[in-house]
């Protein structure tokens, strides 16, 4: 059963947290996290990811690896929303002694499966986890969240080649296809298209979805779980900075936080959106 409204409400709360925590931190990444709020809300609140906030180390949990570690505000906000730690703690992001490191660290915070930040290391670790699940005959699924910019890295394609060959049907990659990277639009810096065909050529199942359509994201995830003969990639077409008009589509919001005034405007916009 999919409760779309609940998920959309969660996505809204996650977006609000992202803006608030980034403004408090005074540094960090805005565009990617806001764009991925609907995907994260669907994964954690649509019963896609089997997990227990009160038992983060539960053996049979599904695992989520955030390969593009810089968008961790969306992961932190989601974990707090799910009860892994108190929401107030989001305000410590990037500060000394915080469990919310600038890039995710597995030893710092419950719910973080591995450390990331240097792009493209996540896919290989997700493959390792999926392989271990298969060897141990565990039914858990591994989700790897990748950005589009990190597909510039050779390691991504080494992983894609391996997983396709290994037929890892217990692995789902979700790509934040927001068309931006640091130096500009992805298709100007290092074009990725036709991205779906590239994955198909490596024997992956490919689904393309509107990354803000909760129903479509959920359907694609369910389909991926039902597939038994290889890995699936869900290319989630997202709007960087989603929900904040002065951030949307603008690559210059990749790596900066809103000021206090901008955050106030952003919060008004986010909270006034119909869910």
């Amino acid at each position: 059963m999919l409760h779309e409204t609940i998920i959309r409400e969660k996505a809204q709360a996650i977006r609000a947290s992202i803006v608030t925590m980034l403004a408090a931190a005074g540094s960090g990444h805005s565009a990617g996290p806001l764009g991925m709020a609907d995907v994260f809300a669907t994964l954690y609140f649509g019963e896609v990811l089997r997990h227990k906030a009160e038992e983060p180390e539960w053996e049979d949990r599904d695992k989520l690896v955030l390969s593009c570690g810089h968008i961790c505000p969306v992961l932190y906000a989601t974990l707090a929303e799910a009860g892994y730690f108190p929401k107030e703690e989001l305000l410590t992001l990037r500060k000394l002694d915080s469990r919310l490191q600038g890039h995710p660290h597995n030893l710092a915070l419950p719910g973080i499966e591995t450390s990331s930040g240097p792009l493209s290391q996540g896919i290989s670790q997700a493959i390792g986890m999926a392989l271990a699940n298969r060897l141990d005959e565990r039914r858990s699924h591994v989700y790897a969240i990748l950005s589009d910019g990190e597909h510039n890295e050779g390691q991504i394609w080494e992983g894609v080649m391996f997983a396709g060959n290994a037929g890892l049907s217990n692995l789902t990659v979700i790509i934040d296809r927001n068309n931006i990277q640091i130096d500009g639009p992805t298709e100007q810096i290092m074009p990725l298209e036709p991205l779906a065909d590239k994955y198909r050529a490596f024997n992956w199942h490919v689904r393309e979805v509107d990354g803000h359509n909760v129903r479509a994201i959920w359907d694609a995830c369910m389909e991926a779980r039902a597939i038994t003969d290889g890995p699936t990639v869900i290319i989630a077409h997202t709007i960087p900075g989603k929900g904040v008009d002065f951030m949307e589509y603008d690559y210059r919001w990749h790596g900066k936080p809103p000021t206090a005034e901008q955050a106030a405007v952003a919060l008004t916009q986010i909270m006034s959106e119909e869910v």
Binding site: H105, G117, P118, L119, I182
Partner: protein, 323 residues
């Protein structure tokens, strides 16, 4: 006294070494069309935007692909170009060390590797982005020069010196502002260390942001009648063994301070030199075999032992061992 220009360490202006890099590489590219800059999706923070705009033919955007970037640079260099490959030090030379080792160093390709945002002072991004090991992993590579300049002017001058040198080089600098201790237009001499303050009790060799901290330490200890000799050593490899040994023999003990792991850094280089040529106490100030964390640059410099007070404590220890 070899004085590089500053007057009072407390009131001196501050600047960004990476700005000096941007200016230096632009000077060089304007003067020589074989000078090129390659960047991996970090053009603005490494101060290459002006070069990209003004000299587009001498700029290559490789996307987020540091290994490929290093290899392309080697190919360019083996074809007569003088490429600067730039990214954050954790990735360059962190991620592409094998390409640096073989494509660049073993082939002796004339590539200039630029490690930006080095050190713990990169701040809130946290441990993943704080390059503390880059000195150790570059020092061990044959044919490679390793340079960590003091400030904005010295970085700019060092870039010119690297262009004049035919062979692989690594230059690293941080993100944050640091006191400007050198004068503009002072030529940079590869393999040279220089005294910024003379003293007879203990030699302090430092580079990068730790040079300013060493000067503060020297001022404070002078009040107690302890005179530190402060030597800036931006050239880690080749090391100025002549200048460092001469000072050490005069004072009888040494402190080395740097914004990097004490294992394998400038401190190790000096300890190796002293141990083989004139054994005496050498105390290293730097990161003690740990990862960093998120925080402001100031908080982290304090917590990880990179302040003048840590140099003072090290000097006291060196002096006591020497007694």
């Amino acid at each position: 006294m070899e004085h590089k220009g500053f007057t009072d360490i407390r009131t001196v202006e501050k600047g960004r070494a990476r700005e000096g890099f941007g200016l230096g590489v632009l000077d060089a590219a304007r003067a020589n069309k074989n000078v090129m800059a390659l960047c991996a999706d970090l053009t603005e923070s490494i101060m290459l935007a002006k070069l990209r705009e003004e000299l587009p033919k001498q700029f290559v955007e490789v996307g987020v692909a540091e290994q490929n970037m290093m290899g392309i640079a080697a190919g360019l260099a083996l074809s007569g170009k003088i490429p600067f490959v730039a990214s954050y030090a954790v990735f360059n030379p962190g991620r592409n060390w094998d390409q640096l080792r073989v494509s660049v160093c073993y082939s002796n390709a004339n590539v200039k590797v630029v490690g930006a945002h080095a050190g713990i002072s990169v701040g809130p991004d946290g441990a993943t982005h704080q390059a503390l090991e880059d000195i150790a992993i570059t020092r061990v590579l044959p044919n490679l020069l390793v340079i960590a300049p003091t400030d904005i002017h010295e970085t700019r001058a060092a870039v010119a010196a690297l262009v004049a040198h035919n062979g692989p080089c690594y230059i690293r600098f941080g993100r944050d502002v640091v006191p400007t201790l050198t004068k503009p237009d002072m030529p940079f001499e590869i393999g040279k260390a220089y005294a910024l303050r003379h003293g007879s009790h203990c030699t302090v060799v430092a580079n990068g942001p730790l040079v300013a901290e060493a000067l503060l330490a020297a001022e404070e200890l002078a009040g107690e009648g302890i005179e530190l000799e402060v030597i800036a050593s931006p050239s880690i490899k080749p090391l100025d063994s002549h200048t460092i040994l001469a000072s050490a023999k005069k004072t009888g003990c040494v402190v080395v301070a740097e914004e990097a792991q004490i294992i394998g850094g400038l401190g190790s280089a000096v300890a190796e030199l002293i141990g083989e040529a004139a054994p005496m106490p050498v105390i290293r100030v730097g990161i003690h075999d740990s990862f960093g964390e998120s925080g402001t640059p100031d908080e982290l410099m304090d917590r990880y032992g990179l302040r003048s007070r840590h140099i003072i404590a090290a000097a006291r220890k060196a002096l006591s061992l020497n007694r």
